[in-house]
Each structure stands twice: as structure tokens, then as C-alpha cells.
Subunit: 358 residues, 2 copies
DNA sequence: TTGTAGGCGTTATCAA
DNA sequence: TTGATAACGCCTACAA
């Protein structure tokens, strides 16, 4: 004779379980569960008894157990290179807002753009059975082991900012090619002829697209393409600093930097070299922040809709979770050139004007 | 006769469970589990059989089930006002690094400094049975309902940046009083006599401490205390902008702003009013960022060890999780005044010097 | 050292 | 409409 499952085994400080509720309301756990989940029509009388018991016992369902039972955690994993890189907080915030709206939570991991940390994070997220993953893929391919793992679990992925077709076609990115193209065109409009680049890694889709946009804009504007004016960085301050020193020592009159952190590095290098922006070199940066309009040099930059990227990626992911056969694909959001002083456009106009009046 | 629990009920695309492993290795689940957890001495022979089965089936433990069984999720909840406020990413990053080190993950929530969102977040985190919570408490008291809930679950809390003794004494904060005090002293050293404040909410421990530091420094420097030179904001750009307009219209010669976002707002207001910093008013901000050294006005500011706050808070929380009777208490980290141009100190020196040479 | 069986808290199936 | 009872996948006394 199987002993009845005893509710709350007399443990004093234990939270009430649905068994306790059922017992207190003198109904079955089924009924109790149905009431908790506002399910089908439970008789009014029983429902009230259950509700009373819930209130009395301060019952709150254990989401862990629920997740195990229904194979759904209502949690999505997010892996970004570094939340301390000012680019990502807004992306994550967008994702959180979308997730929140649907009753989902975010499990956050940093990869530092490292394959090792990325894989550790993914493995953990998968083991915790997140319902889906938002990933800003780092450069390089997954190990076969993790590839297999991902294939087996069948958890939907949506990529943030960077594409990586080997994993999935679903991604929300920005039109980096166009952004870089316009950035360089603006430099050209500002009368710059020897334009250099401090770019991100060309192993990344973003780095590559921005680099191509740079090159094509050079050509479209009939400007020379000098390979020694091109520096490859890693989107961090330090690499911008190194690239800035190397590049500026070649005295370009225009510089396009592929993200904000590297721009900071470039400005530091310029500072050390006694070079002023935009007088000595015009600069167009990538990615805008509210404070950039207020500090000098006022950066001409290409704003990327960070929040939107996160928000839409999360929404797409949630759709795929709800229905794995959701279309998806690459969603490309438009950047927006914001002309301020650093490109030297105003300077150029003033100069042209004074020449005119000679 | 109870039917044996059947491993992998023939479901095709199901991940292998420990039952499958046990079956494949022809051992009991106990043994399989022991091997997975590198437990006590399992016979070498059996262990190898189990390991082979694990490899063959690509078995990975379901952390959800494990959490349910051992009442431990290895997850800590983090509630911050807004991850998009550049202050918090570093705090969160510090916490993540500490958590990661101990095999923990972060569940991230934003409260927007709203009691409602804060409570929703806490309730969800508690329901998901996080092992502990890192909280930057918003202004105002919990509702009785959530108070009770928190009391019942017995989940350890550690506060970030802001104290709130009604919840817990454990907190990692910065010495805001001292920081503000030094900020104002620096303004005084720069020859400023009519010093105003754009502070945070005095309902927050941070806002209050920074305000007190401001006042005491005024007094210590024999400066007048004019209540109309004090604006209360909410740490966001917009409130700094409004406060900036109101304050600057009174023409103070020095301004202390209690965080970076509000400084951005103040600078915007100054810009619109045609006021230059530091020529027309000296400014000391709170909280430093790498790029602030490179843009003008170069902000004199009080750096707060953001990363450390997050890191140490997480470490303390993990200790409390491991041993609830861990001492704890308020850990106060030291700020660091970084003198640059915005306070007008250099200007002041130059002026004194030129007067000397008259 | 190894195995058996019960428990973790829910949901879900299938009768009644 | 309700109620037993079996999953969900893992851990862990208690036995052997």
C-alpha cells in the first residue's frame, strides 16, 4: 500500500506547496493546480475554498518545478561580448523590455569575445534549459562538441548585431555597410582626401561590412585607397589607441573609426601626438550616445538603433519559441548619420567661404 | 507491481537522461549520478562504463531538475534601476565575474526606480528560486505583501550602492558623503564661492549622503548655503537638464552634480544658455568614465569603484548563500577625486598668477 | 561500493 | 467537473 504523499512533512520553515493548498482546501492537487492556473471552469465553491487556502498559506508556485514539468523556463539566455562596453547595455535593455512584456527573464553572460567563454556560457544556458538564446557571436567557429550539443537541444537562437550563418539565419543587425559608407562620404564632403580607417576585426560580420563600406565609399568618391591607412582593431579602447597612433603618424586628413570605444582610443592617441580634431584630422565615429552632443570635439557619428536591435531580436526569438517554424531571417536596421563637428564639415564650409570672398 | 520507470520512453528527439545513461552502462542511476558528480569512489570499472555511456549518449545533466532536487539554482537575481544608465553595466559586470567564478549565473531585471517594477522583479526572482538577490533598492517601502514574502523565503539579499536597513544590513556602497564633500572642496579650491547642487533624490541613501557632503563642505569652507541653489533630480539626464536650467539661471560660479547622467543634462542646459564651463561656472561631476578624460570640458569628477561594488557585493552574497550566518554588514568603498578642467582650478591658478605679477 | 526507492513541486493524462 | 497518479530529471537517505 503506497503511503500517501504527505504534504509539508512537518517541516517548519518550508514554503507551502500545492499539496498543502490541496489539503487545506480539501480538494485534489489537480483542482488546486487548476485554480492556480486559472484553468477550465472549476466549480465556484471549490475554487473559493482553494483561493482561501492559497491566501492563508501564502502559497506561490515554484516556477522551478513548473519549468521542469512543462519543459519551459520562461527564461532566455543572452550572451554579449561585454556588458561594460557601452554599446550593449541598450541592446540588453531592449531585449529585457521585450522579454518582460511576455513574462520572460534574461540570463546574462559575457564572452569577452572569447570562444572559450562563449562556449562555457552557451553550455550553461543550455543546461539550464533556457527557452532560447540571444547571441552576439564572437569570431571563430564552434567546436564540434558544442555544435552537436546545439543541434541536439533544438533551442532557438537569434543573433545580435553579427551574423553567423553556420548557426542560424535568424539575426537582427544594423546596416553596417551603409553606415560606414555614409560615414566616409561625409568625410569626403568635408573635403578630406586621405582617409584612414580604424576598423574592427574583419573576422566579424560587422567588422567586414564596415570595412567594405569604407572601401566602396573611397572608390565612389574617387579617393585613393592606401592600405597603410587601414588599421584593424578589436572594438576596444586599447586597440583604437594603438591603431590611432599608427594611423595618425601617417597624417591622414580624415579618419573613420568603426565604433565608439576605439574612437576614444584614437582621441587619446591624437591627444598625445598634439593633433587636434577636426583641425588636424576629420573624424567620423560609429554609434552615438546622448552625451556626445555636449562634449567637444562634437562627434559626427553614425547612430545605430541599439535598443531596437535588442527589442526586435527578443521579439523574434519569442516568436520562434512559441512557434519554431516562424519565418525569421536577417532583419537589418537602418543607421543614421549625425553630422556634428568632428568631421570638419563646418570648417570646410568656412574655408570655402573665405576663399570665395577673396 | 509498480511498473519500472522506463528510460527514454522511446521518444525520438529527447535528450538523454540519467536513466538512459544508467541503462546503457548497466548500472543503477545512483552510480550514474555519482559518476556525473564525481562523487565518492565509484569502482573504476563501473565508472568507465558510465563515462562511456555519457559520451555515447552525449548526456548532459538537466540543471533544472538538479536545482529542484537540491533546492539550489546556482543563479542570483540582480535588480538595478536601469542597465542603460552607464553606471550599472560595470557593477553588473563585476557581479557577473564574481558569480561566474563560483559557477553562478545572473538573472537581470530593471526597475526603472519604480516600486511596482521592483516588486514584480523580486517576486519573479523569488518564484524562480534564485539563491540570492543583489538589489539597488528604489525609493519607498515595500508593500506588506512583498515584505512577508521576502521574510518567508529566507533568501539572502545584498544591497548595491544604496542602503535600506528595513530589508537588510548587508550592502556594498561607496562613500558618497566623502565623495561629495571632496567634490565641493575642490570647487572651493578653484575659487568658487557661490556653489550650487544638482543632486539625486533625498529619499535615496545616495542622494542624501551626497547632499550632506555638499552641505558640510560648504560650511567647512565658510561658503554661503543658499537653498535656491539646490536642485533635486532623479539621476537621469532630463532632471539634470531641468535642474541645470533652474540653477544656472541663478548664476552660481560653481556646480556640483551628483552623477554623470545629470551632468549631461546640466551641460545641455548650459549650452542652451550660452554658458561655458569652466569659464562661466566650475563643475564637478560624480562618477568617471574612460572617455571623460578626452572630451572637453574635461570633467573633474569623483570616480566610484563601480566594478568593485558589483564584485564584492556578489562575493558577499555568495558567502551568505553558502553560510547564512556570515557576518556581512555595510561595506563602504572609497571614491577618488580626479581633478581635470571643468572645476576651473587651472583657470583659477592662472588668474592668481597673473594677479601676482601685476 | 552499489542499488532501491522516495522526494523535490508542478503539470498532464486518463478515468470516474 | 473532479481525482488519482504518472511523468519531468535528478539527488540521496537507507539498505544491501
Amino acid at each position: 500500500m503506497p503511503p500517501l504523499r504527505r504534504p509539508n512533512k512537518n517541516k517548519p520553515n518550508k514554503a507551502a506547496s500545492i499539496y498543502d493548498v490541496a489539503k487545506a482546501a480539501r480538494v485534489s492537487v489537480f483542482t488546486a493546480s487548476a485554480v492556480v492556473n486559472k484553468k477550465s471552469h472549476v466549480g465556484k465553491k471549490l475554487r473559493e475554498r482553494v483561493e482561501a487556502a492559497i491566501a492563508k498559506l501564502h502559497y506561490r508556485p515554484n516556477l522551478l518545478a513548473r519549468s521542469l514539468a512543462q519543459q519551459r523556463t520562461h527564461t532566455i539566455g543572452v550572451v554579449v561580448p561585454d556588458i561594460a562596453n557601452p554599446f550593449f547595455p541598450l541592446v540588453v535593455r531592449g531585449a529585457e523590455d521585450a522579454a518582460q512584456k511576455h513574462g520572460y527573464n534574461l540570463l546574462l553572460c559575457n564572452s569577452d569575445d572569447t570562444l572559450e567563454k562563449e562556449e562555457r556560457a552557451l553550455e550553461l544556458l543550455l543546461s539550464k534549459r533556457v527557452d532560447g538564446i540571444l547571441l552576439t557571436k564572437t569570431a571563430g567557429d564552434f567546436t564540434p562538441s558544442i555544435r552537436r550539443m546545439i543541434a541536439e537541444v533544438n533551442t532557438p537562437f537569434v543573433l545580435l548585431m553579427r551574423t553567423y550563418p553556420k548557426l542560424t539565419k535568424d539575426a537582427v543587425i544594423t546596416d553596417d555597410y551603409k553606415g560606414a559608407y555614409e560615414a566616409v562620404c561625409q568625410l569626403a564632403r568635408a573635403g578630406r582626401r586621405r582617409i584612414g580607417l580604424v576598423g574592427g576585426s574583419v573576422k566579424l560580420s560587422t567588422g567586414k561590412a564596415r570595412w567594405k563600406g569604407f572601401r566602396d565609399a573611397l572608390e565612389a568618391n574617387g579617393l585613393p585607397y592606401e592600405s597603410e591607412l587601414q588599421m584593424e582593431g578589436d572594438f576596444r579602447i586599447e586597440s583604437g589607441y594603438r591603431g590611432g597612433h599608427a594611423l595618425l603618424s601617417r597624417r591622414p586628413d580624415g579618419v573613420y573609426v568603426a565604433n565608439f570605444l576605439m574612437t576614444v582610443g584614437v582621441l587619446k592617441a591624437a591627444d598625445e601626438m598634439g593633433l587636434r580634431c577636426p583641425e588636424d584630422f576629420g573624424l567620423v565615429s560609429f554609434d552615438d550616445y546622448p552625451w556626445l552632443a555636449l562634449f567637444r570635439p562634437r562627434l559626427t557619428t553614425v547612430e545605430l538603433p541599439k535598443y531596437q536591435v535588442g527589442f526586435e531580436a527578443a521579439e523574434l526569438l519569442l516568436e520562434k519559441i512559441a512557434n519554431p517554424r516562424t519565418p525569421g531571417g536577417v532583419r537589418k536596421l537602418m543607421p543614421e548619420l549625425r553630422v556634428r563637428d568632428s568631421c570638419g564639415f563646418r570648417l570646410h564650409l568656412a574655408k570655402m567661404h573665405s576663399e570665395d570672398s577673396l
